[in-house]
Amino acid sequence: MTAEEKYVAAAYLVVFLFVLVYVLIMAVKVNRLEREVGELAEHLLREQEHRESGDREKVEVG
């Protein structure tokens, strides 16, 4: 491989690495958002269950 070829390869590699790092960072962010959405959904479900069980206790039978 000549020096010229190495420089051309390096230039293209830089572009590829920039895009790759950017996509990896965004993928990490998407994973974090997914986890946060899951936590919120779990929190809402727990609250709903808690509310429903509270409502059931309040109802007078007969």
């Binding site: 420089y7 051309v8 965004m26 958002l33 946060e36 959405v37």
Partner: protein, 209 residues
Amino acid sequence: MGGAIALVFFYAPVDQDGLNQKIFYFHVPIAFTAYACFGWGAWKGFVHLWKGLSTADLESYVAVHIGVIFGAMTLITGSIWAKVSWGHWWVWSEQQLVLFLILFLFYCAYFMLRFSVDPGPQRANVSAVYAIFGVVLIPISFLAIRLAESFIHPVAFTRDGPQMAGSQFVTFCVALGSMLVLAGFLYRFELAGKRLDDRLRELREALGT
């Protein structure tokens, strides 16, 4: 992108500059894409100031962010090309290079300014004004090479049109198109992430978690 790379290496001929001319097909489209992103960021900043849309502020920020990434790629690929062609990584006497560096640093400072102000309308307004001011540097940077007296940096586009063979111009256009599509994709991707992040924060605050 794959098609553009295939055209660069298998379709476009190697001209008198040698193999290093292949860097041109990505270096120049990346620079044009950076200009387009900064221009889009300024336009969105203008829309924010004009119509008071808070969404335009976020769009402006993301466009500038993508522009800075493409700007960094322009500087690095340009330096590699300069090393092969001129034997130097950087030439301070070249106005095109220095003006692009100023443009890049100007938009890097955008983030320092933006994050030094608390989130809210003031931050959005200051960021929008700064993004609009920066756009003035784009035509200066683009025309610097034509205004410069020394022509170390090659001129590919003149008033007579592109100074290259038809196959080279086609390859260049495909590479430019692929870079713009890539930037557009990254812009939409990052914007969607940021919007989702904001909505989640609002939801968390509303739920008190």
